[in-house]
């Protein structure tokens, strides 16, 4: 079998692992930049899923959706980092638990 490529399950397990790691990062970290990086990690895990299923069902839709997700991730990173910069000017800190002015 010269070109036995890894199965869809292997891709799904890898993507699930990356998603779980990203989720843990979003919840446990205090540094807001690292939280945003963990969100990017989760988006990448979803993209792996989409591409794997695109190959599994021999259909191009999964790849198109992956490209749109990458676009949204770029916009989200730009706006999120702008918010972080503004928050740093306001609070001189980028820890998530310092930004609780609205928390009554």
């Amino acid at each position: 079998m010269p070109d036995a490529i890894p199965s869809t399950e292997a891709y799904l397990m890898l993507s699930g692992t990356l998603f779980a790691v990203g989720l843990v990062g979003v919840i446990i970290r205090r540094n807001m930049i690292t939280v945003l990086m963990a969100v990017e990690l989760m988006m990448n895990a979803v993209n792996i899923n989409l591409v794997a299923f695109s190959h599994r069902f021999a259909s191009l839709e999964g790849q198109i959706f992956a490209i749109f997700i990458i676009t949204v991730a770029a916009g989200e990173a730009a706006v999120g980092l702008a918010i972080i910069i503004q928050l740093y000017r306001l609070k001189s800190s980028i820890n998530v638990d310092d930004a609780r002015s609205l928390n009554g």
């Binding site: 989720l23 990690l41 190959h55 749109f68 676009t71």
Partner: protein
């Protein structure tokens, strides 16, 4: 073990290890560099599933654009890291619990052998389609117009581009509008507005520039 499986095992292990290090590193610059490694590994995984264009976009946009943005902001903010500062938030126990639950959920749902992989042909991922009507003569003599789909095998990039500009034209344009809105939003949010007190204390070089502008304008008016 075939070479493809070997590459998958290697790249997948590196990707998972690097992603754990992204979350675990104390310094955001180190996190960003491990995130770059993760993105490159994921690009390799995309190419292995016949998604060459998505892999290229992954390298260009993620590794080239978003990472530079992250590194810029990390260096712009330049937070001093005290060695005894807490890294974990107050919810870290719940966070680990939720992460473990999601991990177990995925691994119980995705058992090996759930999806019987067919003898996959990647031809559909490399084909563009044209449609046209053709008159077909039925056996009983009537002539019927039928829609004929004709596939042409090209490359993955051409197939994706064709799909983006035909079937997905409206989402594509909406995405471009989204990027415009995100760009304007990022500029407006990130812009620094000087307060009245700060305007009195602006550094000398900024005042010099204002004076030069006044002089230039006065010279033009005279």
């Amino acid at each position: 073990m075939s070479p493809a499986l070997l590459v998958f095992a290697l790249v997948g292990t590196v990707a998972v290890a690097a992603s754990i290090l992204v979350v675990a590193m104390r310094n955001p610059v180190h996190s960003a560099l491990f995130l770059l490694l993760t993105f490159l590994c994921v690009a390799v995984l995309f190419v292995m599933k016949d998604a060459e264009f998505v892999g290229a976009v992954q390298v260009l946009v993620y590794a080239g654009g978003i990472m530079v943005l992250f590194l810029f902001v990390v260096m712009l903010i330049n937070v001093r890291h005290l060695p005894d500062e807490r890294v974990l938030s107050n919810f870290w126990k719940g966070g680990f619990a939720v992460g473990l639950a999601v991990f177990i959920l995925f691994f119980t749902l995705v058992r090996p052998g759930v999806y019987h992989d067919p003898v996959s042909s990647d031809k559909a991922l490399r084909s563009t389609y044209t449609y046209r009507h053709r008159k077909v003569k039925q056996p009983d003599g009537t002539v019927v117009r039928k829609l004929i789909r004709r596939g042409k095998v090209v490359g993955n990039s051409e197939a994706v581009g064709m799909a983006l500009y035909t079937d997905y034209l409206v989402p594509f344009e909406v995405a471009s509008l989204f990027l415009l809105v995100a760009m304007i939003g990022a500029i407006v949010i990130g812009k620094r507005e000087l307060s009245a007190i700060e305007e009195e204390n602006v550094p000398a070089y900024m005042l010099e520039r204002v004076e030069t502008e006044h002089a230039v304008k006065g010279g033009m008016g005279a």
